[in-house]
Symmetry: C2
Subunit: 284 residues, 2 copies
C-alpha cells in the first residue's frame, strides 16, 4: 500500500514519510494532533500537519536543548520549561541530581495525554518527582515570575500559530526578568536555509540580542525539520556557552546520549558563513 504523510517545508519543497498506520487523530482547543507509525522514523506526532517530533530523531532535539546549557551553568536548581508537554526535555533534565524543581508550562492538556499514551519514552520524563505541570499559557505564567529560575527552556515549536506569543519581544523581556542574575535561556531558533524562513530567524535573533548581554546561536542536524537543519538560541546574563563550558564536569556525570558530546557542543557553535552573516546583520 502507498500510504504517505507529506509536509510542505516551503510552498516548493515537500518531505514525505511512508506511513504504516495512523494511530491517533484529534482536535484540541489549540491544534489538530495526529500520531503516525512509520518504518523510517518510528512513531511521529504532528501538530496542524507539521512534524513536531519522531521517535528516530527526537533525541537530537531534546539532548541539544538541555545538555548545552546544563554543561555550562555550574549550579541549576530551578528550571522552567515552556511547552515541553511531550516530556522529552524533562526526561533529559531528570539526569541532573542538583536540579530541585522542573516547572513545565504547557497550555494543551490533550497534547500531554496523547504523548503519555503513544510516546511513553518521552512522557516518562514528566513522572519525575521534581516536575510540576501547569496547564497554562507560557507568557501569562512568566509575567508573575521574577528572579526565580536558573534556566528557562523555550520548547515552543513555532513562531506562528498558537504559540506565537512565545516569540515576541515581551516574551524575551519576561524571560529575562524571570531568570536569576546568572540565568540562561535556550530556545528554538528555526531553520535558516529556505528564503521564507530567513526573516523569522533574523527577527528572533534581533529581539534576543537586544535583550541579553550574551546571545549565541548553535546548530543541529534534525532530518524531519525544514532542510534537515535546525538552530537553537543560547541567551545568557553571565555564562558564555563556550568559555564557561565545563566538559570535565559534564563527562563525569556519565549521561548516556545519542547525539550530544562536549566536543560536539563546541562544534555546534561553529556556524556556516551564510548563517554567521545572516545573524551579524541583526547585530549592527
Amino acid at each position: 500500500m502507498e500510504f504517505w504523510f507529506s509536509e510542505r517545508h516551503t510552498d516548493n519543497v515537500e518531505l514525505s514519510i511512508r506511513v504504516e498506520k495512523q494511530l491517533f487523530s484529534g482536535q484540541s482547543d489549540f491544534q489538530r494532533i495526529d500520531v503516525f507509525d512509520s518504518v523510517e522514523f518510528g512513531r511521529f506526532l504532528t501538530s496542524d500537519g507539521n512534524v513536531i517530533f519522531s521517535e528516530k530523531d527526537e533525541f537530537t532535539y531534546d539532548e541539544m536543548i538541555v545538555h548545552v546549557p546544563m554543561a555550562v551553568h555550574p549550579n541549576v536548581k530551578k528550571v522552567l520549561v515552556i511547552g515541553g508537554g511531550d516530556g522529552g526535555v524533562a526526561r533529559e533534565l531528570s539526569h541532573y541530581e542538583e536540579i530541585e524543581v522542573i516547572d513545565v508550562v504547557e497550555p494543551d492538556e490533550m497534547f500531554v495525554e496523547v504523548c503519555k499514551e503513544y510516546f511513553p519514552d518521552n512522557s516518562k520524563g514528566l513522572e519525575d518527582k521534581r516536575v510540576n505541570i501547569y496547564y497554562q499559557d507560557g507568557l501569562r505564567f512568566l509575567r508573575t515570575s521574577h528572579n526565580e529560575y536558573d534556566l528557562i527552556i523555550n520548547d515552543a515549536t513555532d513562531p506562528f500559530g498558537h504559540t506565537e506569543g512565545l516569540f515576541t519581544k515581551e516574551f524575551y523581556g519576561s524571560c529575562y526578568k524571570a531568570l536569576k542574575d546568572d540565568g540562561i535561556m535556550v530556545y528554538q531558533h528555526g531553520s535558516p536555509f529556505y528564503d521564507e524562513d530567513e526573516g523569522a530567524c533574523k527577527a528572533m535573533h534581533k529581539r534576543v540580542y537586544n535583550s541579553f548581554p550574551i546571545s549565541r546561536v548553535y546548530q543541529a542536524h534534525i532530518p524531519t525539520c525544514a532542510a534537515g537543519y535546525w538552530l537553537f538560541g543560547f541567551a545568557s546574563k553571565k555564562y558564555h556557552p563556550l568559555k564557561d563550558l565545563d566538559a570535565k564536569r559534564w563527562n563525569k556525570r556519565g549521561i548516556k546520549t545519542w547525539y550530544y558530546t562536549t566536543n560536539l557542543h563546541r562544534g555546534a557553535f561553529m556556524l556556516p558563513k551564510y548563517v554567521e552573516d545572516l545573524l551579524a546583520e541583526e547585530e549592527k
Copy 2:
C-alpha cells in the same frame, strides 16, 4: 500547475521539489541525465533520478571538499579530481595560485557538456588554464600514477551504479600510491542517518582507515542529500586535518565563501555521538 520532482532517499522517505520546467533530458553511456529549473533550489541536475547538485546548495559541497584539505596542506602543486565533470570543484581550486596542475578525470563527456550549457557558474572552473580533462575511468587512470599528486579529490557521487569502482579497496590503495609522501585524499562519505545508508558508510570508513595512517570524517549540512546530512572523508599520509590547519594563512587569501570558514572547519570534525560510535566500530 502541480509539477514535482521526487527522490526516494530510502524506500520510506521522499524529498520533492516543485519544478518550473524540465530543461534537459538525455541518456549517456553511463547514466540518465536530467536538468530541472525550480523556485526553491534554482536549477538542479539529476543522475538516474538522484539529485547530484543544485544551484542553491552546491556551494556547500564544493567548498567543503576543496577548502578543508587546502587549508591544511601547506604546498599543493598538483591535484587529481576524480569525477568532477560539472566543474564546481575545479572552480574552488582555481582560487589557489600555488596550484600548477588540476587533472579532472571524468568518464562521461555528455555530463560535462550538459553542465557547460546549464551550469556555467560551475563549469567555468574547467576553463582554468591549469585544468586538464581526461574522459576516462578514474580507477584505470589512477593505476598508472605513482607518487605524483599532493591532493586527490574523489568527487564521484555514489558507491553504487557506474561509479562503484571508485569505492573499492583497490581504489583507495591506488589513491595511496598516486599520492606523494605528504598527500591528502578527500572523498564523499555519504549520509549516516538512515539505517540503509549506515552499512555503506561503515564499510567505506573501514577501507580508508586501513589504507591511510590518518583517517578522519567531517560533516556538512546539504538539504538535497539524504536526511540533509552529508559526510566527507579526510585521509592523509602526514597532515592532520585539525592540528595542521593553518587558519591564518587561509584567511589571508581572502577567498569568498558561502559555507566554509576556518572556524567551521574545526566544528565540521566534531561529530554527533551516533556517528562517532558508528565509525569507531570499524577502527577496532
